[in-house]
């Protein structure tokens, strides 16, 4: 979960430069969060001891705008050094939650603690949190170097220290050549790296990122994801990352919190969320998913038997409150549907509706006798003609049945036949 203790030259370089300015840095960070710092000595973190699991804590936090519940009853702990992603569709409350942590919004109710101390009354400029914005938010009238020097100069770091620290931060994002340019003379990816250097140069223990790669094209985004992850591992800094891009969340995060309608519906590791989604919404939001509607016929422990509209039957894992006779939604991943192997607990006959070539794999559109179309991930070499009959199947463990119609918080779930 946490990658502490990974010693690297860059990390040492940044730490070393911070050491020379400990006086100023200490009053900014240590002064505000002194109570917690004494109980958990700073030296402990540096040596890679188990991280503080409650570095950031949201306790019953709510945010309302008039009648609108932006965030409801949020309880969340973020560990020191963790990379946590808030993932959800727009308007799901993830950015509001981030802004409350940054200090730009005040919770209507509840408490947020940072390093054991409530930040309720702490304005953004006293929280010592770094923040990276989607639109970079660089100061256009300052050079790249001046942008990165800004947080140091407002902290009254001496001029002699600012220069080397700015240089090191720019080296970390490989932009030291551009230090005299104006931000508008850089590409989007370069600008965001400057913003990153600026948010890291004063060594905040927590860095917030609000869709930082949203404005970049796909290739650059994937490259920056790797870079961000490397920087996270090098510096051991805690990162809270907001995105609506599920692949980005899966790629980088230690843990992902899925937001829906102002609440976290599930939080867990990327593979945990992918393989064991707790709700139909999570199943459809993370990765690709085949969703099928059905009625429960029998419940047997943690498994159940479900009848599909045309009388087809399948066994599935019963997730949540599943009772005989109740409508459910089934979720099966495309790669978990096998082409008629013996290992399948459930077998169906289907006809090929189409085949989409993706390079490293193919997507097969398979029509069940009931008329529903399933997406199946198959080998790139498979050659099936449209109209051909095929044998499909999946294991019980790979098919999950969720209560249909209503999500846990009372909101109608997404019930498309194929997501």
């Amino acid at each position: 979960m946490v990658s502490t203790g990974q010693s690297s030259s860059l990390r040492e370089a940044l730490a070393e430069s911070a050491h020379s300015a400990t006086g100023q840095q200490g009053t900014a960070a240590g002064g505000k969060t002194g109570a917690a710092a004494t109980s958990k000595p700073a030296a402990g973190r540096e040596k890679g001891k188990p991280a503080d699991a409650k570095f950031v804590e949201f306790i019953d936090v709510e945010k309302t705008y008039g009648n609108f519940h932006a965030v409801r009853r949020l309880n969340l702990s973020i560990g020191r050094g963790e990379f946590l992603t808030f993932l959800g569709p727009s308007g799901s409350g993830k950015t509001t939650t981030l802004n409350m942590l940054a200090g730009f919004e005040r919770p209507s109710q509840g408490v947020i603690t940072l390093d054991g101390k409530s930040v309720d009354r702490l304005p953004p400029y006293d929280r010592n949190i770094g923040m990276v914005f989607q639109n970079y938010a660089l100061f256009p009238h300052m050079s790249v170097a001046d942008n990165v020097a800004f947080p140091l100069s407002v902290r009254k770091v001496s001029k002699a220290d600012i220069g080397p620290r700015v240089t090191r931060a720019l080296e970390m994002v490989r932009l030291e050549r551009f230090k005299d340019r104006k931000p508008t003379q850089l590409s989007g990816g370069q600008q965001q790296r400057v913003a990153l250097a600026r948010a890291l140069v004063y060594q905040p223990s927590l860095v917030l990122m609000d869709e930082p790669l949203g404005a970049l094209d796909k290739k650059l985004r994937e490259h920056m994801q790797i870079e961000l992850k490397q920087i996270h591992e090098m510096l051991g800094v805690t990162i809270v990352y907001v995105t609506h891009d599920q692949s980005e969340a899966l790629t980088m995060s230690d843990r992902v919190a899925i937001f829906e309608n102002g609440a976290i519906v599930q939080i867990g590791t990327p593979d945990g969320l992918y393989n064991e989604p707790a709700t139909a919404f999570v199943a459809s939001f993370i990765g690709e998913n085949n969703a099928l509607d059905g009625i429960v016929e029998r419940v047997d422990g943690d498994q159940c038997l479900v009848t599909l509209p045309t009388g087809l039957r399948t066994t599935a894992m019963a997730i949540g409150d599943i009772r005989p006779g109740a409508p459910v939604q089934l979720a099966v991943r495309p790669e978990r549907i096998a082409g008629g192997g013996d290992h399948s607990d459930n077998r169906f006959l289907a006809t090929v509706d189409g085949r989409i070539y993706h390079g490293d794999h193919q997507r097969l559109l398979a029509r069940l006798p009931s008329g529903q179309v399933l997406t199946v991930k198959i080998s790139p070499d498979a050659t099936m003609a449209t109209g051909e009959a095929i044998d499909l199947g999946w294991r019980t463990a790979d098919c999950r049945a969720f209560p249909a119609g209503v999500a846990p918080d009372g909101i109608t779930a997404n019930t498309g036949s194929v997501s």
């Binding site: 940054a102 400029y125 949190i129 923040m131 938010a137 660089l138 100061f139 800004f150």
Partner: protein
């Protein structure tokens, strides 16, 4: 269609085509011609009158010839007076004598009636003597009278430009101040610049917070505020000024309100006062200062301000180091616009200002409309134009503000 496409390809592939760079110019040609004939030429012609004044030289051809042989300074000998009488007679006959008398009078106060008297004398008696002429026109017997005539024989003159600064050529041939009683223009220029500065500062004090509020409220409210600010902008300046006379006069709305509120116990003299003038000008100029500031403020991304805060900057630091540097071009542009427009105010000082609040434009208008002294009007206009251009160049050169980029 095809020719456009072909020429487009040419510029991309080949060398820079000359006709391509001339084409936009050709499209603008009608406008440029109109500007040249209706704007540029009149300005040049008018301003040239500040330094080119041929009336005296044209009226006195014989005198000039006679003066050419009489090298002595001061009052010349008899032959020059004869030549002068001849010129006067000719001018009288041609009807040019009043123009000459008026022109000489601007250089030699009191010369008008004396010139007319000499001209009448010369018309009656062809053999009028120097003595008789000096008797009719005592200025002709004085050194300064002939100094004015001698300098007037030169068609190019610095007299009016120097006068605009309350300066003149002394009898010793150096530049010196005019007598204290005649010094007007430095005071008027000073007053014009002072009132322009005060109005500019007042509009800035009102516009800056208003523009900030407008960028931070909902678009609908910002739109309503903008309309309210612009509404007076769309009405004639004369109407707005007249409205202010209704409000500011002794038994007007403002005095009624102040009395009713108990702020004052007496009715204030707001009309024909500098306070009233500044209030009215501030109101009229507000949109000019506001709009450039508003446009740059809207362009500042609010996430920058958040970013600055998250990076540890207190609100005042955010304002000083992040916000102000970015809105400064708009502030300077707005202030420059208002300041320059204030330098040329005419109607409002006439209707609301008192006798001691008249600005340079009022003097220019007076010279044009009442005194018919186009040379002085041109000289004052020239100084006003030059100081405006100087201000603009200073702003663009030293403060790095480019008004052309602002648009």
């Amino acid at each position: 269609m095809s020719s456009i496409a072909i020429s487009g390809i040419k510029t991309r592939t080949g060398a820079m085509d000359r006709s391509d760079s001339l084409r936009p110019l050709a499209l603008a040609a009608p406008l440029l011609l109109l500007l040249a004939f209706s704007f540029g030429a009149p300005i040049v012609l008018l301003l040239s009158r500040a330094v080119y004044e041929p009336t005296i030289a044209n009226t006195l051809p014989h005198t000039i010839a006679a003066l050419g042989t009489d090298s002595a300074a001061g009052v010349p000998a008899e032959p020059v007076f004869h030549a002068f009488a001849e010129d006067m007679k000719a001018a009288q006959a041609a009807g040019a004598i009043y123009e000459f008398a008026k022109t000489l009078n601007t250089r030699l106060p009191g010369a008008r009636s004396q010139v007319l008297r000499v001209a009448r004398l010369a018309g009656q008696d062809a053999a009028v003597t120097k003595e008789a002429m000096i008797k009719a026109a005592p200025l002709l017997g004085e050194d300064q009278g002939w100094a004015a005539i001698r300098s007037g024989t030169n068609r190019l003159t610095s007299f009016f430009l120097l006068s605009a600064f309350d300066l003149r050529w002394t009898d010793q041939g150096t530049i010196g101040a005019v007598p204290a009683g005649q010094a007007v223009f430095t005071r008027v220029f000073g007053r014009t610049f002072l009132i322009a500065t005060l109005v500019t500062l007042a509009t800035l004090a009102l516009a800056f917070p208003l523009a900030y509020v407008m960028t931070n409220v909902r678009p609908l409210i910002a739109g309503i505020v903008l309309v309210l600010v612009l509404l007076p902008f769309w009405t004639s300046i004369l109407v707005r000024t007249a409205a202010w006379t209704v409000i500011l006069q002794k038994y007007g709305l403002l005095n009624d309100l102040l009395l009713w509120l108990g702020v004052t116990s007496d009715r204030l003299e707001l009309m024909y006062s500098r306070t009233g003038l500044i209030i009215a000008m501030t109101h009229i100029q507000l949109p000019f200062t506001l709009l450039p500031i508003y446009s740059v403020m809207r362009a500042v991304n609010t996430s920058q301000l958040r970013a600055a805060q998250s990076l540890g900057a207190r609100p005042l630091t955010v304002f000083r180091r992040v916000y102000l540097p970015q809105v400064m071009p708009g502030v300077l542009a707005g202030c420059l616009l208002t300041f320059i427009l204030c330098l040329g105010y005419y109607i409002t000082p006439v209707l609301i200002g008192g006798a001691s609040d008249q600005l340079i434009s009022n003097f220019i208008a007076n010279y044009v409309n009442v005194e018919l002294n186009w040379e002085m009007a041109a000289a004052l206009s020239f100084v006003l134009l030059a100081s405006t251009l100087g201000l603009y160049v200073t702003m663009t050169r030293y403060l790095g503000l480019d008004l052309f980029k602002m648009g």
